[in-house]
């Protein structure tokens, strides 16, 4: 539990402290999703339950979809603006 909490803390601090670099914000979202999935899987493993791993597969698939859509939006934004700074 401690490992996933620390990883989630790292992700959320990276999301808060780097307000202007949007690539780092997407990477922080990935780290937070990793931490949450790790917590679900480790808890279900300690309960000797299989449904947590099933749920983990869903979270992994949706994280892949989220990163693909986020990077697509980022590329479209970069084409429109010419830069990826959030506040100019």
């Amino acid at each position: 539990m401690n490992l996933s909490m620390v990883l989630f803390l790292i992700g959320i601090l990276g999301f808060i402290l780097n307000r202007k670099n949007i690539i780092l914000m997407l990477i922080s979202i990935e780290i937070m999703l990793l931490a949450v999935t790790l917590l679900i899987i480790l808890s279900s493993f300690s309960f000797d339950d299989i449904l947590g791993q099933t749920y983990g597969i869903y979270v992994i698939a949706i994280a892949g979809a989220e990163s693909a859509i986020g990077l697509g939006i980022l590329v479209a934004y970069y084409r429109l603006r010419g830069s990826i700074a959030i506040k100019s």
Binding site: M1, N2, L3, M5, V6, L7, L9, I10, G11, I12, L13, G14, I16, L17, N18, R19, K20, N21, I23, L24, L26, I27, S28, E30, I31, L34, L38, I41, L42, F45, S46, F47, I50, L51, Q53, T54, G56, I57, Y58, I60, A61, I62, A63, G64, A65, E66, S67, A68, I69, L71, G72, I73, L74, V75, A76, Y78, R79, S83, I84, A85
Partner: protein
């Protein structure tokens, strides 16, 4: 030996995570993100959760991190634009919010107001959930002749469900629950993946101008 390796992998993943959010160059931070994923997947494989660990390696390292690397390298951002970001007082503006959130998480870690394992939890919570389940079964079968049969069905179904998994391998049991009981969620996940395939194509497609 095993616990030392687990501690080492956990420490490596936390260290790589800190290096992800503190490095200036986004390419370096994506490379450390790959290091985080490799560490976590080795942690899971060493614990005995093989399939999810290998899935992490395949999907995150093979697909998501490479996608990030492609986008970072394709956009060809000048490094000056990224390094001058944190030096103009923007960093100190968000520092109190980070301190608040960080102290909340450290309180959670240090004092553990929520029990993190089964042994720390009192048995009344289990009994409460069992009572709620029995109550819902009773109310759903109320007024019919199945009132006692409902409880019977509930308990025997649970026993069957438990027995069906004891002779399975891990991957077999994951697949068995994925393709039979939770089939609807699999279809919804496939819809979401289809959306994730079509959405970036529509977003980044540049339509060519036609002359009439």
């Amino acid at each position: 030996m095993n616990t030392i390796l687990l501690d080492l992998l956990a420490f490596g993943s936390v260290l790589s995570g800190i290096l992800v959010i503190t490095s200036r160059n986004p390419i370096i931070s994506v490379l450390f993100l790959i290091s985080v994923f490799v560490n976590v997947s080795c942690y899971l494989i060493l614990l005995g959760i093989n399939f999810i660990g290998l899935t992490y390696l395949i999907i995150y390292v093979g697909a998501v991190a490479i996608l990030f690397l492609f986008v970072v390298m394709m956009m060809n951002i000048k490094l000056v634009e990224l390094t001058e970001v944190n030096q103009k007082g923007e960093y100190t503006n968000t520092l109190p919010l980070g301190a608040i959130v960080g102290s909340l998480f450290l309180y959670e870690l240090a004092f553990q107001p929520v029990p993190s394992s089964v042994s720390g939890m009192s048995s009344t919570i289990y009994n409460l959930f069992d009572e709620i389940n029995l109550l819902s079964v009773n109310t759903s079968f109320k007024g019919t002749a199945f009132n006692s049969a409902g409880i019977e069905a509930y308990t025997s179904f649970n026993n069957l469900w438990d027995n069906a998994f004891t002779s399975f391998q891990q991957l077999e049991s994951v697949g068995s629950s994925l393709y039979t009981v939770h089939m609807m969620f699999l279809i919804i996940a496939s819809m979401i993946l289809l959306l994730a395939m079509i959405g970036p194509i529509v977003l980044t497609h540049k339509p060519t101008k036609r002359l009439h």
